[in-house]
């Protein structure tokens, strides 16, 4: 299945996941920028707090409290301890803040061995912000999450369900119920998987899509293929290119443009091979995943930061038909 997914931006909660190094953060930032450009206000949540997200807007790292990093884009970094304190304050009306201390430390220790605690604090905070947005209490319409990588996302999305399997009664059980419902609503939530047209990212994407379908009840949005290399030649043009690489034309070309001619021809040869190797993986992805695919070209630019975010946002906008 191919084609744009313009309705994606009408949802309230968009996750971006994928294998490490494929450009998740860039896609999340670009989607936030794109949504802001059509008049939405966005909360961009960085789950792995590496500070990559604000850098995509040329801003210094942000904390747990959302900060505007671009007109219409607020950003925050997830902090499970702060999330726990907020949860206790809001849900349990804990009277003495000092008592959270030892409990937070215990939970931190438990979280080391049973990281489900961290996952639920993360997903709970995100869901809470989304509910605030839906009920009109927040100053944003859409929550975009630079989520955990492939290996971790299923645990993160499934944390609420997992807690309910373990906890039979009590407030924690009740308070995870609405989180699961919100995550399962296709009008609200979509998980997007970012990949590149390379062997491992494609294999992980296929596996992840399958895992998400089997293990968690969260709607899938699209697969975004990043760093797609351009096709240099049509078939006829490629024959001409190959003919030019033969010794005689090459010598002729070298006589006219200098000995760099060989380097130029070799560079094009490398570009063609790289594209071809990736095309095989791309084709396999197209055959194996029945989700809308969006393509973002490889960017041959010197810049990073906002300039790149903008270029990727434009590419995504074009794919969504905006």
């Amino acid at each position: 299945m191919n084609g744009p997914a313009p309705e994606l931006l009408d949802r309230r909660l968009l996750f971006f996941t994928g294998k490490g190094g494929v450009g998740k953060s860039t896609m999340a930032a670009a989607t936030a920028l794109l949504a802001s450009s059509i008049g939405k206000r966005v909360l961009l949540v960085e789950v792995d707090a590496k500070g990559d997200i604000p850098a995509q807007f040329e801003q210094a790292p942000v904390g747990f409290t959302p900060k505007e990093v671009h007109p219409g884009v607020l950003a925050m970094a997830m902090d499970t301890e702060a999330s726990l304190q907020e949860y206790l304050r809001l849900n349990l009306r804990v009277p003495v803040i000092g008592r959270i201390g030892p409990l937070a430390r215990v939970l931190d220790f438990v979280a080391t061995a049973a990281p489900g605690v961290k996952e639920i604090l993360t997903i709970g905070k995100i869901a809470w912000e989304v509910r605030e947005a839906i009920e009109g209490r927040a100053d944003f319409d859409l929550v975009v999450v630079d989520a955990a990588a492939t290996g971790h996302i299923v645990a993160q999305l499934g944390a609420a369900d997992a807690i309910r399997e373990l906890v039979d009664v009590g407030p924690l059980r009740n308070q995870t119920q609405w989180v699961s419902e919100l995550l399962a609503d296709p009008a609200i939530t979509a998980v997007n998987v970012v990949t590149t047209p390379e062997e491992m990212p494609v294999a992980e994407t296929i596996e992840l899509v399958d895992n998400l379908r089997r293990k968690v009840d969260v709607p899938l949005g699209s697969v975004i293929v990043n760093r797609v290399l351009p096709e240099l030649f049509t078939r006829a043009d490629e024959e001409t290119f190959e003919a030019l690489r033969a010794p005689e034309p090459r010598a002729l070309l070298t006589a006219r443009v200098g000995r760099g001619a060989t380097e130029v021809l070799d560079a094009a040869r490398l570009a063609v091979s790289l594209r071809r190797t990736r095309a095989v993986h791309l084709e396999f992805l197209q055959q194996s995943v029945d989700l809308p695919l969006m393509y973002v070209p490889y960017l041959f630019v010197r810049a990073h930061g906002l300039r790149v975010t903008r270029m990727v946002a434009d590419a995504l906008g074009a794919e969504m038909g905006l």
Partner: protein, 405 residues
């Protein structure tokens, strides 16, 4: 890079480095090609240094796993058949072995080994917290990978063990894993958490002192008492393994610090992985681990930064028409169309310029690297995927080359 004083006996090639080590840990952020580089290093060591070499890999691409004969082996180590190597034209002096990491099985083995008796072991293995912990949550990868490394090293079966580290959110998490484990099981907090159950047992009479009562009330309100009891029971059982576990975690940590162990950081020359690699190098040095090598993977060829190439690319674009006239060859169907030749020339010129922008960005990032180990290897972007022994051998040729210019 600023030149540094080098001691005469400091290794400058990976071969020299590996000749003095028993363990090499490959690390770096996700997607930089760690697994292939680790496998190539192991193969290279087998060829160049001989002996029995094991590559312990966490999550290999399927085709690579197949090439190494790893499919469906679980935790079992397996010798890569000499015929497979010979077929690729590789004469190995030593034996290449390969193994994968099965997290769940490794945890189960650990429990069976450390539990005081079989009954406790099975109570732990069947506890639903335990199954959740080990099966669902990946963070347990960190510790168990290092634990397996220790186990294999202690077996004394291999001259060299090459391990590629699990994909973690933070590439250095696994360094802390043994200490974290030991801390956790030795913590007073854990004892506190399990206290009422140790005193009151299953009869449910929770003997709480005044000081801890608010804490349990709070924990009850959040977690529910059944869950709290599950946790407590699990940790009570787990605590019976305390001594074995802590001793073991400390031993694992000592092994990582041992001078026979070295770390190799793998990165591509892209901004994000490179920054992660720099952070990683700094942390290793600060914590007194041995930083042995830096591997720059999938770099673009140097000719993309050659001014002569840039000049030729410019000429191909600007003088495409005139060049096409000169190259026109009516007898050859591929060179019979002037327009087509001109278009192809412009395309190759543009493509060179595009890739040269990326190559220059890479060179700039490389020059910015502040702290680097003595051994630096640079592996070019290959036109095709690395999915077989031939490919690993090709990586190895660059990996084991002398100091990069």
């Amino acid at each position: 890079m600023t030149p540094r004083r080098r001691e005469a006996d400091t290794p400058v090639t990976l071969e020299q480095l590996l000749a003095t080590k028993e363990i090499v840990v490959f690390c770096g952020s996700g997607g930089v090609g760690k697994t292939s580089v680790a496998a190539a290093a192991a193969l290279g060591a087998t060829v160049r240094l001989g002996g029995k070499v094991l590559v312990l890999t966490i999550d290999p691409a399927r085709r690579l796993a197949t090439a190494l004969g790893l499919e469906g082996l679980g935790n079992r180590a397996h010798r890569v058949s000499p015929e497979v190597l010979k077929a690729a034209g590789i004469e190995a002096r030593g034996e290449l072995w390969a193994a994968m990491l099965d997290t769940k099985q490794s945890w189960d083995d650990l429990v069976l080994r450390h539990a005081p008796n079989e009954e406790t072991a099975y109570r732990i293995l069947e506890n639903r917290l335990y199954t959740n912990l080990t099966a669902r949550f990946v963070q347990s990868h960190d510790y168990i990978a290092m634990e397996r490394l220790f186990e294999i090293h202690a077996s004394g079966e291999y001259d060299l063990i090459v391990i590629d580290t699990p994909p973690t959110r933070n590439a250095i998490d696994f360094l802390d894993a043994p200490a974290r484990m030991a801390d956790f099981f030795g913590s007073r907090l854990l004892r506190w958490l399990t206290l009422p159950y140790r005193v009151g047992g299953k009869r449910g009479t929770r003997m709480l002192n005044v000081a801890s009562r608010p804490f349990y009330q709070m924990a009850d309100r959040i977690l529910g008492s059944q869950f709290l009891q599950d946790i407590a029971e699990f940790f009570l059982n787990f605590q019976s393994m305390y001594d074995g576990f802590v001793t073991r975690a400390r031993a694992v940590e000592r092994l990582l610090h041992d001078k026979r162990t070295t770390f190799a950081v793998v990165t591509t020359l892209e901004a994000a992985p490179l920054h992660e690699a720099e952070r990683f190098c700094a942390t290793l040095v600060a914590r007194d681990f041995h930083l042995g090598a830096l591997v720059l993977n999938r770099t673009l060829p140097d000719f993309l930064r050659d001014p002569v190439g840039a000049a030729a690319a410019g000429a191909c674009i600007d003088e495409a028409g005139a060049l096409a006239d000169a190259l026109l060859e009516p007898g050859d169907p591929a060179l019979a169309d002037r327009e087509r030749i001109a278009r192809v020339l412009r395309t190759v010129g543009e493509s060179y310029r595009n890739f040269s922008v990326v190559a220059m960005r890479e060179a700039e990032l490389r020059a910015e690297l502040a702290r680097v180990p003595d051994v630096i290897a640079q592996i070019p972007t290959f036109e095709h995927d690395i999915s077989d022994v031939d490919g690993l051998d090709a990586i190895g040729r660059y990996l084991f080359k002398g100091p990069a210019a």
